[in-house]
């Protein structure tokens, strides 16, 4: 902003107070066209590979997808014109690829069962959930015009988050176990919701609000041990509470993946807020100790470690390690360039449409495709972290940093789990997995990041009077 006297070429000469001066919505539109083209190409690839023609529903499926994504784009123009131009196209591309994969899995019979891996209606349902997700995206942009208003709901959202997390563990709650984890609740026979997908967003906002308020206290140094300034014992309350929640998640819902994401999210936000490395160390040690104890106490958790260390040993491939091992076989059979969409056998892997979806992409798009998908996630996270750097107020900074880190952690936990970098824990792959809760949650996350980046990039209010006089500004 010091460039008022010496405007750089990037500054609009007619509008010197607006840095950059470009909302980049047209860039977003062009990138969206790229995303649409890729999704269309993927659809055609599946069709020609499986049936030798363009799939019959292509026009309808793709048409619906383009319409809802363009609706999101228009909402961006209306409600968040200064938002980062890459967030929406990246999310739309992943969402589109997920829809294509549902179509692909529904269009081919799994010889072992005589049925397709997912029902033929899965594509339509995935598009429907995309529409709901983008509806929520638009609603968040429209309702939350200024991120700082969320700070007011620090404790409300915290309570809601904890409640949502605890819901599936409530005795008598209608739900079902997924791979030993109890994370779903059901309404009737058709609708199941995974409350954790929304709980983590509520808690991220709540953590940001709380930490902004308390960060000065939490940054105070206590005793110095081995060259590390430990926090004061009396400030350990919050981290102990989150730790307890994450351990309860482990014990009562056997959901080690989400538990790791929560703990990681809180510790990372604590570190961003206080810049104290000791919090990172403390959080890491606490989680590892907790997870170790849980692995001894909860059979389901210990099993994951056994499978991770010895997937091929003994009779494992037919037993508990069948699913992760099949995912590895799938990715390995894809090799560098993959079998092509429709050319592999992803249906052999159980639940390939949800937790293991990255293995289906690995099998059919190969190493090249998986790296591209990882880079898309990486770019999304990078845009979020960049927003955190740009945005001015601490709450927004913390929230943007926390949400971006959470997205990265989630991708790390699931993709690392499927590829045997770390023990496999069942969490969804954002935007790609089948399932409404995850898709809607992911779109809300993108909406929050878009809102934050809009705030970060929005030019300061234009002066409406001559400089030197007292300025009257219009606040949007």
């Amino acid at each position: 902003m010091s460039s008022i006297t010496a405007p750089s070429p990037a500054v609009d000469p007619d509008n010197p107070l607006v840095p950059g001066g470009r909302s980049r919505r047209r860039t977003e539109l062009i990138m969206l066209v790229f995303a649409f083209a890729l999704v269309l190409f993927a659809f055609a690839n599946v069709g020609f590979s499986l049936k030798g023609t363009l799939p019959s529903g292509t026009a309808e499926y793709l048409g619906a997808f383009i319409v809802i994504v363009l609706a999101a784009h228009l909402a961006m123009r209306r409600f968040a014109p200064w938002a980062d131009p890459l967030l929406l196209p990246l999310a739309a591309l992943l969402n589109g690829l997920g829809i294509v994969m549902m179509y692909r899995l529904g269009a081919q019979v799994n010889p072992a069962t005589g049925n397709p891996q997912v029902s033929a209606s899965a594509t339509g349902i995935q598009i429907l959930f995309s529409a709901i997700g983008i509806g929520c995206f638009v609603a968040v942009l429209a309702l939350v015009r200024e991120p700082r208003v969320l700070q007011r709901y620090t404790y409300t959202l915290g309570a809601i988050g904890v409640l949502l997390l605890a819901l599936p563990a409530v005795p008598g709650m209608p739900g079902s176990e997924v791979n030993g984890a109890k994370i779903q609740i059901s309404f009737g026979s058709l609708i199941t919701v995974q409350p954790e997908e929304f709980a983590k967003l509520a808690l991220a906002i709540s953590f940001a609000g709380y930490l902004v308020a308390k960060r000065d206290v939490l940054a105070l140094a206590g005793r110095r041990v081995l060259g590390v300034d430990l926090p004061r014992a009396r400030d350990l309350g919050p981290i102990l509470m989150v730790w307890a929640i994450s351990l309860l998640l482990l014990v009562f819902e056997s959901d080690i993946g989400t538990s790791a994401v929560f703990m990681g999210l809180f510790v990372a936000m604590l570190y961003i807020a206080t810049s104290r490395t000791s919090w990172l160390l403390l959080g890491f040690v606490m989680f590892v100790l907790g997870a170790f104890a849980a692995s001894k106490l909860v059979g389901h958790v210990g099993e994951r470690f056994t499978v991770w260390l010895h997937p091929f040993a003994g009779n494992n491939p037919e037993g508990i390690a069948y699913q992760p091992v099949q995912a590895l076989y799938g990715m390995a059979s894809g090799g560098l360039l993959g079998k092509g969409l429709g050319g592999g056998q992803p249906y052999i892997t159980p639940l390939v449409q949800s937790d293991m979806v990255i293995s289906a992409f690995g099998e059919e798009l190969g190493l090249a495709g998986v790296m591209a998908i990882l880079l898309i996630y990486g770019l999304m996270v990078q845009r979020g972290l960049r927003t955190a750097m740009l945005v001015k107020d601490p709450f927004s900074k913390l929230l943007a940093g926390g949400l971006s880190f959470m997205l990265a952690l989630q991708v790390f936990v699931i993709v690392g789990g499927v590829t045997r970098l770390i023990p496999l824990t069942g969490i969804t792959t954002p935007f790609l997995s089948q399932g409404g809760s995850s898709l809607v949650g992911s779109w809300i996350l993108i909406a929050l990041l878009a809102r934050l980046s809009d705030t970060a990039r929005r030019p300061p209010p234009r002066s409406i009077q001559e400089e030197g006089l007292t300025q009257v500004v219009t606040l949007k």
């Binding site: 269009a107 491939p317 076989y329 990265a408």
Partner: protein, 493 residues
């Protein structure tokens, strides 16, 4: 806060770099080792279904297994295997399911599926010329007429059993039928659930349709083993001819027991004088004569001769694995007498039954039996072809000729056990040996019927072995089936 954010960004970068390194390792370097994991059905599917699977045809070019495009477009497997003759050729072709194969489908799998390295050059040419690669065609030695006759004769009899016919001069297997059989078509389904259901039904079926009795069934040879006993006798004692008188008592008291070895139904053998020419005792299948000969020769001499005829061989493949035919050295002289007439622990496969005759018919030289004549690539060039090879020389040509005369007497001599078939095939003399083996604990089971023969006597072209479980007399239940096969094959020449 920005400093902490920068550090978090670096942590995120490290996380993504770790993921990228790991996928590179997994998909770039571990593909081969994971593809060869035993539980990796993807690799199995991929190799099985990469190319159109080659056909299996008989020596007279009848297609007995082939592939056609799958009926459903949703099918993840592009080609459907089918077997035009179903159960008739099941022991030969075996089956090709989603998960496994048997028979020729298993033995020649790499060539049929097109993945054998010997096809690499041709596949490369196909790639350049733009032709779609197809697996190699396997031609088996089976003669379709002989096979059809063998299976229909077994099915008409309705009892479990098997027939094997061999060309004595080469070892080519001309027919190989087993009953009851199964239709490999039902196992070729691409519906895994249906496959499991059908497979379980077949496995649970008490009549054991999946068992290839021709190669895997082991039954007591009964009196057909007298070919081995005679061969040992004539080889060891050059002074003895088939016209030499040998002891032929009505009853043979076995040493160290109270058991009496008697002839069938306790009747006296030959004239009842206690002496008979060897050829007559053979033609009328006198148990007492051969029991005594066995005791005189000793078990190790019998064992050596049985082994030369192909028994006690656990490594015989055609290339399908053949169950071992056993001659176990008995612990007592009394049991040696039983073993010399094909009882005690003696067991043979129907293939072994045919090999007895084949060796005699081929002047004492036993050719190694084989089922695969040649393998032809999709461009009609020959990939491999089988050259006949000698398995063993159980007897000299003179002994073979003597034993052959005795086998001729079984069918041509009015007192012979197989006299009923002396003119069964017009203008053809059949030489054979019947066998009726007692089975079960205390011989409580129905007798197994066995018959081994070759024809024409003067110029042998086919040797047949038949065993019918619970069939009764060899001459009644087994020999007619062999005659049908000979008729079909020689009429076809």
């Amino acid at each position: 806060m920005n400093r902490a954010l920068r550090r978090i960004s670096i942590a995120v970068l490290v996380m993504f770099v770790l993921l990228l390194i790991n996928v590179n390792y997994l998909q770039g370097f571990e593909t081969a080792s994971l593809a060869s994991e035993p539980g990796n059905s993807r690799a199995f599917y991929a190799t099985q279904n990469q190319y159109e699977r080659g056909s299996i045809i008989t020596s007279d070019d009848v297609t007995i297994a082939a592939s056609k495009p799958s009926a459903s477009a949703n099918d993840s497997i592009k080609y459907q295997r089918y077997y035009p003759y179903g159960p008739q050729y099941a022991p030969v072709t075996g089956y090709d399911t989603l998960y496994s194969q048997t028979g020729i489908e298993a033995a020649e799998n790499s060539l049929l599926s097109g993945n054998d390295s010997s096809l690499d050059v041709r596949k490369f040419i196909d790639l350049i010329t733009g032709k779609s690669t197809k697996g190699a065609t396997v031609q088996v030695t089976i003669n379709s007429k002989a096979q059809a006759a063998a299976y229909s004769a077994l099915a008409a009899g309705g009892k479990p059993g098997a027939v094997v016919a061999i060309d004595p001069s080469s070892g080519k297997i001309l027919a190989m039928a087993s009953y009851p059989s199964y239709n490999p078509d039902v196992l070729a389904t691409h519906d895994g659930k249906q496959l499991v259901t059908v497979d379980n039904q077949l496995l649970a079926d008490k009549s054991q349709p999946l068992l290839n009795r021709a190669l895997e069934g082991a039954y007591p040879p009964g009196s057909t083993f007298k070919i081995v006993t005679s061969s040992a006798l004539l080889t060891q004692n050059p002074g003895i001819t088939i016209n030499t008188n040998v002891a032929s008592p009505n009853q043979l008291t076995l040493p160290q027991t109270n058991n009496l070895l008697i002839n069938n139904d306790g009747e006296s053998c030959v004239s009842g004088t206690g002496q008979a020419p060897l050829i007559t005792a053979f033609a009328q299948s006198c148990n007492t004569t051969f029991g005594k000969i066995g005791m005189d020769l000793g078990a190790s001499a019998l064992s050596a001769m049985a082994t030369k005829f192909g028994m006690n061989n656990q490594n015989l493949t055609v290339p399908l694995t053949v169950a071992q035919s056993n001659y176990t050295i008995p612990p007592s002289l009394a049991l040696t007498a039983y073993s010399a007439i094909g009882q005690y622990d003696d067991t043979v496969t129907p293939l072994q039954e045919a090999m007895f005759s084949a060796a005699i018919a081929n002047g004492g030289t036993l050719m190694k039996p084989y089922l695969v004549q040649q393998v032809t690539a999709s461009d009609l060039s020959t990939v491999t072809s089988t050259t006949p090879s000698v398995l063993s020389q159980p007897v000299s040509s003179s002994v073979a000729s003597e034993v052959g005369k005795m086998m001729l007497a079984v069918v041509q001599d009015p007192g012979g056990t197989g006299y009923a078939f002396n003119a069964s095939v017009e203008g053809v003399q059949i030489a054979g040996k019947t066998g009726t083996a007692e089975t079960g604990v205390n011989n409580a089971g129905l007798d197994d019927a066995a018959f081994t023969c070759f024809a024409p006597y003067a110029n042998p072209k086919i040797a047949v072995g038949v065993i019918i479980q619970g069939g009764g007399y060899g001459a009644t239940a087994a020999a007619p089936i062999a005659v049908q096969v000979i008729k079909a094959y020689l009429g076809n020449q």
